[in-house]
């Protein structure tokens, strides 16, 4: 099993309680992670941390995850960072539309289990 120890992850989630629990799970796996509750803060954090992956909610306060995905794609140094989408609207999204944005995995918040986030993260590092 791939170790996540030492990996760096930015979690973009405007529900701070949900984000808090994602951080707890990731930290339990040895991941260094930080939470951004809106895309502008996420860009700052991503610049600062240069993460190995980004976990992204799609419905964000005052914005959507697509704003951040567009922004990431417009920077050559950020475009290749793998993104895992974690959202309640997965049934409204199609992976073929997300993949061009660097989205490698998509998780449905309404059905996922806590361990799924680490499994998805390992998946993008294979």
């Amino acid at each position: 099993m791939i170790s996540l120890q030492g990996k760096k992850v930015v979690v973009v989630e405007d529900d701070t309680w949900y984000g808090e629990h994602l951080l707890r799970i990731l930290q339990g796996e040895g991941v260094t992670c930080a939470l951004a509750d809106h895309p502008a803060k996420a860009i700052d954090l991503i610049d600062e941390m240069q993460p190995d992956a980004i976990i992204l909610d799609m419905l964000l306060t005052g914005s959507t995850g697509f704003v951040l995905l567009h922004e990431l794609q417009s920077h050559s140094d950020l475009a290749s960072i793998p993104v895992i989408v974690c959202t309640t609207i997965l049934d409204s999204l199609q992976m073929k539309h997300l993949e061009p944005y660097g989205v490698k995995r998509a998780l449905d918040k309404t059905t996922m289990h806590p361990e799924d986030i680490a499994v998805a993260l390992r998946g993008v590092f294979i």
Partner: protein, 242 residues
């Protein structure tokens, strides 16, 4: 990056573009977030390695998330009955309602590291309203401000020429004109889920319906450092008649 291969969120979610029963679908989506959080918390509380303090915090978050979902379902029920039910309007004290709202949401705000305050005002007339509906409008505005705003959210009351404006002011980042327009649109109609940032605007739409039944209107004002959502209610002439 090939731009042509991309689709906007709006384009890629035709299944949620609403044609008829928009309120029902918006409500379902609105409820997903607290339910998903509650479910996740339940999983985490089963973990035997978490501390008692962590468990207590999760239990508190579970309760507050459930209460938020219940507020929405209660409001939806009320909206569905607006035409049938008789909501008797009477002179009510807006300052007392603001205090009630601040008290009701105190724990919810504190749990998010925020504070809901009431700006004290003197010598304001009563408003013609239904106590519970007006309270629910202000709870909705406050809940909305919690998502958007900075650490403090403030309730205030101001007298205009013939009406009383009760506002919920947040100190979050300035909204772009585009977002401001989008949110204003939500005040008028429940938006399809594709149009929403963070929320469907269902709560704001419900607040508008409640205001309408009380002959009031809701609106919003953009500030350099945040937004005010307000409801304008008719002032009671009761005192002038004495």
């Amino acid at each position: 990056m090939n731009g042509e291969s991309k689709a906007t969120y709006q384009e890629m979610s035709p299944s949620v573009i609403l044609h008829g029963d928009s309120g029902l679908i918006a409500a379902a989506h609105e409820l997903k977030a607290p339910l998903a959080l509650i479910r996740q918390l339940a999983f985490l509380m089963e973990d035997e390695t978490i501390t008692i303090d962590q468990k207590k915090r999760m239990a508190m978050q579970t309760r507050l998330a459930a209460e938020k979902a219940l507020r929405l379902t209660t409001d939806l029920t009320k909206v569905a009955r607006l035409e049938d039910a008789l909501f008797q309007l009477e002179p009510v004290n807006p300052a007392a309602i603001c205090e009630d709202v601040a008290k009701e949401l105190d724990e919810y705000f504190a749990a998010h590291g925020k504070k809901l305050t009431v700006q004290q005002s003197r010598s304001l007339p009563l408003v013609i309203a239904h106590h519970d509906l007006l309270r629910r409008i202000l709870v909705t505005f406050s809940d909305n401000a919690l998502q958007y705003g900075g650490e403090e959210v403030r309730l205030s009351i101001k007298k205009n020429s013939r009406s009383i404006r009760i506002a919920v002011r947040d100190y979050g980042p300035m909204l772009s004109p585009k977002d401001f327009t989008a949110i204003k649109r939500k005040l008028m109609t429940p938006q399809p889920v594709h149009a929403r940032p963070q929320s469907s605007g269902l709560g704001l739409y419900i607040a508008g319906q409640f205001a309408h039944i009380m002959q009031g209107t809701i609106g919003m004002t953009r500030h350099r450092d945040g937004v005010s959502f307000y409801v304008d209610m008719n002032a009671s002439t009761q005192l002038q008649l004495l």
